[in-house]
């Protein structure tokens, strides 16, 4: 039933050149190399001869041959040819993993010990997925022996190189699937293959070339022991129990295998080696009891090799494999339908899109009834058999088969696929690195798309304010006493008429608060006075003496930035007709006639005079600078004068004693060309008009 990779090599050729030029490092089994070990040498040579005889018999005898070769190897591990033979035997049978060390050793000892060393080592590296090394060995081999190799070998080498290139592509983009060896309970060191999953999910049928008895020495063909069908089930914990060989009703021929199962699991399809290989079926009569296999159909089974059975269309359509003469290569895939009479029609080749000049086998129709799986050494295989899938497109034609990719497929043989009912898992057979020997059953789990792990970026954006909270507060700076500027005002107070010094009161008012800051008398003898005022305030200075009209001065030091000294001699006038004073401490809002609070102290002084001299009549006149029209200024000055009168009337002074007049800029007392002059001109005057 099983097609191994074809490595038909003339081993006679190998033996012919075995005695040819050994490299220096290779030690022959020769007396002169082992002068004192004649007996052991003889035994080693005898083992080699025994091994050679088994080697010649074919693959099935390679494991035995290796046993003899290893005996000789333990005596002389440095013989290139012996290492090559061991490597070859292991590589061709159940020890591909181990073959590498002997092939490499042989190559190192003498790369020319046999033309095949380079080729076999290339195949070994190919099997291991070391594609670049394999390609260079294949190319070197082709170049070195270009005049000796056959056209078939050349084609094989080209195919191998192409397979390596495919392999590189598949290895670069591995599938996200889990491949697990079904374990040592299911698999043996012999070939275990053709897994067929039963619908119930916990049972698996497969075929194995394991001997019934390890000591049995019956090898019916070059592949080793005969193949038979087995059944294995899981226990309650989900672990596989010991496989059980199917009964004699199933395993009734030299070679039998389980090759398919019906949807309900009640019919199994069996390969029988009779008639060149036929497809049979058996029905379950009661639990575990199967009927004797019947031939599926004479129209399907020919004298050629037919195998595998998989169905679609509710069991009305069959897919199988045959190597009958009308194939494109070795085995091809055929389909067949049940006719009206319920019989299978003659099989029809699926055509050249699916079938190639190479070998197609192990056909399996997915339970979806659309996707056809099969194994092939053609198409874009990466080595040996790979599993492919295809389906019928809208035009009714088979699509170009798609390689399932690595790691389902490997450079070794990967065959058979059988899905479990839920589709999350499948079984394949494969000969790959790490197995128990030969082909093993593997479980393929499809976990969906590759899951992406997530990194944690740490934002850690520092909030700067938290770090600056303490730095960002304000504090008050030092208070600098020395930077206060003093204005000194001094002079003499005298009678304006007689010029004699007067003993008068000096009153200093804070115009902002109307608070009297100081009230003192000047020097009576000299009439001198002196005040020191600190910058930063607007002061009102008033000088008054009994029987005299007061004198007022506004000293605005709000913006003062330097120390200064003012000398001011002040003449006071008696209260009499025609006498007038400028009221320096009466203030109005800009362009308005509204009296500011700062004016109150001065206004109260006026009120006091009006009380003290109840017979006088006075005129309050308003004056402006020359900014603005004459009419405007006259009206403004008049309203301002009236505001003063209104204040006094409001305090209880008879209005008949008061007159007001707005003079605008008719009577300037200073130039209007300077700000200082203009400020002097903006004033209110108090004039006694009768006493």
């Amino acid at each position: 039933m099983i097609m191994r990779k074809s490595n038909v090599i003339s081993y006679c050729f190998l033996f012919l050149i075995a005695s040819a030029s050994f490299a220096q490092e290779s030690i022959p089994f020769d007396k002169k190399d082992f002068p004192d070990q004649e007996k052991e040498l003889r035994a080693a040579k005898k083992n080699i001869r025994k091994g050679d005889r088994l080697f010649k018999k074919g693959y099935g005898y390679y494991p035995q041959a290796v046993e003899y070769y290893m005996e000789a190897q333990s005596f002389n591990p440095d013989n290139a040819l012996l290492n090559f033979k061991i490597g070859e035997c292991l590589f061709q049978t159940y020890g591909k993993d181990k073959a590498g060390q002997y092939l490499k050793r042989s190559f190192m000892l003498d790369s020319l010990v046999h033309p095949e060393v380079m080729l076999k080592l290339g195949k070994y590296y190919h099997f291991c997925g070391k594609f670049d090394t394999a390609i260079s060995l294949f190319k070197s081999y082709k170049q070195k022996y270009s005049d000796k190799i056959s056209s078939e070998t050349e084609i094989m080498l080209t195919k191998r190189i192409m397979e390596c290139k495919h392999g590189k592509q598949f290895y670069d983009a591995p599938l996200h699937v889990f491949i697990d060896n079904s374990g040592s309970v299911v698999n043996s060191k012999y070939d275990d293959y053709s897994p067929v999953a039963a619908p119930e999910g916990d049972t698996l049928y497969f075929t194995s070339r394991r001997p019934e008895d390890e000591k049995a020495n019956i090898r019916k063909d070059v592949y080793g022991f005969n193949e038979h069908g087995y059944k294995v089930a899981t226990n309650d914990s989900g672990n596989w129990m010991q496989p059980v060989k199917m009964g004699k009703s199933i395993n009734c021929e030299d070679h039998n295998g389980i090759i398919g199962i019906s949807e309900d699991g009640e019919t199994i399809y069996i390969y029988s080696s009779e008639n060149g290989g036929d497809i049979c079926y058996s029905e379950q009569k009661r639990k575990g009891k199967w009927s004797r296999p019947d031939n599926l159909s004479k129209r399907i089974n020919t004298k050629y090799h037919e195998a595998y059975a998989s169905f679609s269309d509710k069991g009305h359509k069959l897919f199988y494999v045959s190597d009958k003469p009308d194939t494109y290569g070795k085995h091809d895939i055929f389909d067949s339908r049940i006719d009206k009479k319920g019989k299978w029609k003659k099989g029809v080749n699926l055509g050249p899109v699916v079938n190639t000049v190479y070998d197609e086998t192990a056909v399996y129709m997915h339970p979806d009834g659309k996707t056809l799986y099969f194994s092939s050494t053609g198409h874009n295989s990466m080595g040996g058999y790979d599993i492919f899938k295809t389906h019928i497109d809208k035009t009714g034609e088979w699509c170009k088969p798609e390689n399932l990719g690595y790691p389902i497929n490997t450079p070794g043989d990967d065959l058979f696929i059988s899905f479990t009912e839920n589709g999350n898992k499948a079984y394949i057979a494969s000969e790959r690195l790490g197995g128990y020997g030969g082909q093993d059953i593997y479980e393929v789990t499809f976990p969906g798309e590759e899951k992406q792990v997530i990194n944690t970026v740490v934002m850690n954006q520092v909030n700067a304010y938290e770090q600056n909270l303490l730095q960002d507060a304000y504090s008050e700076p030092a208070a600098d006493i020395e930077k206060t500027f003093i204005t000194v005002m001094k002079g003499i107070i005298f009678d304006a008429n007689t010029k004699y010094p007067l003993h008068a009161s000096v009153i200093i008012t804070d115009n902002q608060t109307n608070e009297i800051l100081a009230d003192f008398k000047n020097d009576s003898a000299s009439g001198s006075y002196l005040v020191k005022l600190k910058s930063g305030k607007n002061y009102g200075l008033t000088i008054q003496a009994d029987g005299y009209l007061f004198y007022s001065e506004n000293i605005d030091l709000t913006e003062e930035t330097k120390a200064k000294s003012i000398e001011k001699n002040i003449g006071l006038r008696k209260v009499e007709k025609g006498m007038h004073i400028v009221l320096r401490n009466i203030f109005f809002d800009t362009d308005k006639a509204t009296l500011r609070d700062a004016s109150r102290a001065e206004l109260n002084r006026l009120f006091k005079i009006m009380q003290e001299y109840p017979n006088i009549r006075v005129e309050i006149s308003g004056h402006t600078d020359n900014v603005g029209s004459e009419e405007y200024n006259k009206k403004l000055s008049e309203r301002r004068a009236k505001a003063v009168v209104d204040y006094l009337v409001g305090k209880g002074i008879n209005k008949d004693r008061l007159e007001y007049i707005g003079l605008g800029f008719d009577q300037p007392i200073a130039t209007n060309q300077t700000e200082e002059g203009r400020q002097k001109n903006r004033r209110t005057e108090f004039k006694v008009i009768s006493d």
Partner: protein, 353 residues
């Protein structure tokens, strides 16, 4: 604004110290009592002590100044400031309150806002910053702190508006540029965030954390190389910043440079052995390298350090699946789900029935 004088503090008291006694020719008027002079001197000593960072001494001087002049507003305010600097926030607040009742100013409200912010009294702090701003619309710092509170409250558009006001009032306000960058980052305006971070750096604020933020924003903008350069600059300033190593590792990971990523994560955990995230990320490198057992150990560490680390549970589950331990994988995914990791839901649905 910062150096606001209180002119009212230097009240001028004018009184005659020498009365006319017949022969007196000048009348001398003094303007300050001796107690006031002493108070000012003590106050200034307090200010000097603050300049030297000796706030305890400063408080002592301000207390003495206030003994001589109990309504010395400046001294009250500065005493509050000195208490604040010492972390005596409650006492500081008492002084600020007194000072504000005597005469409210923008700076006084602002300072009180800071003190309240330290106490996490966010609402009152915001209200004080708002009052400071109302009194002085050029108060950049008040705008800045209003914005910072907006940011904390995740009101990013308002934060951006207030940071912008702060910057309009002080175009060299480096920290405001940085923080506005953070606010832009939060609303996914990464170009603007990058611009602000770069401005903050140009204004001479070359702190490692700004380069870290710049790296994050550049990464978000898809500029991996630019982000790596930003992290390189951060590491030049401070090579002991475990977070920067971690984040640079992630960028290398994104570039499939797993060995470089691993080196960065190793550096990160060597600086901070409790850095759960770096362990998780290190696990991810091993996962990519198909070293699943090693990866699981890293996730174990991460989970040990941070028991609510949902992502690490999810990642460990993925590795457990790869190790063909489906039950353990499902258990990890269930835990991740309970910790709010959405991604695991489909895993559980598909694999954990």
């Amino acid at each position: 604004m910062k150096n606001l004088y209180f002119f009212s503090l230097i009240l001028i008291f004018v009184l005659s110290v020498q009365r006319s006694t017949g022969q007196v020719k000048d009348t001398v008027i003094a303007y300050s009592t001796s107690e006031e002079k002493i108070a000012v001197k003590l106050y200034n000593q307090g200010v000097d002590a603050m300049k030297n960072g000796d706030y305890t001494e400063a408080v002592r001087f301000f207390n003495q100044a206030l003994d001589n002049k109990d309504d010395f507003s400046k001294a009250i305010f500065n005493r509050g400031f000195a208490h604040y600097k010492q972390g005596n926030i409650e006492v500081a607040l008492q002084d600020y309150n007194k000072s504000i009742s005597a005469e409210p100013t923008a700076n006084k409200f602002y300072n009180r806002g800071l003190a309240k912010l330290v106490q996490d009294n966010i609402e009152d702090a915001f209200s004080d910053f708002q009052k400071a701003f109302n009194m002085d619309e050029t108060h950049a710092n008040a705008c800045y702190y209003m914005a910072s509170i907006n940011y904390e409250q995740k009101k990013y558009s308002e934060a951006i508006r207030n940071f912008t006001k702060a910057i309009e009032n002080d175009e060299n306000y480096a920290v405001a540029f940085y923080d506005r960058g953070n606010a832009y980052f939060e609303v996914n305006e990464f170009d603007k965030a990058i611009q602000d971070y770069e401005k903050a750096i140009a204004l001479g604020l070359p702190k490692a954390y700004i380069y870290l933020a710049l790296g994050l924003a550049k990464e978000k903008n898809g500029n991996i190389e630019g982000a790596i350069q930003a992290y390189n600059s951060a590491l030049k300033i401070d090579s002991s910043n475990a977070v920067v190593w971690n984040n640079r590792g992630i960028l290398y990971f994104k570039q499939d440079k797993y060995e470089k990523a691993l080196r960065d994560y190793n550096k990160s955990v060597s600086i901070d052995k409790n850095f759960a995230q770096a362990y998780n990320n290190k696990g991810n490198v091993f996962y990519k390298q198909k070293k699943y057992e090693k990866a699981v150990k890293c996730y174990d560490n991460a989970i040990k350090l941070k028991s609510d680390y949902g992502i690490a549970y999810m990642n460990r589950g993925i590795c457990k699946e790869m190790l063909r331990l489906p039950d353990e994988a499902c258990s990890d995914w269930e835990k991740a789900k309970s910790l709010g990791v959405e991604q695991v839901k489909t895993f559980i649905e598909t694999h954990c029935n």
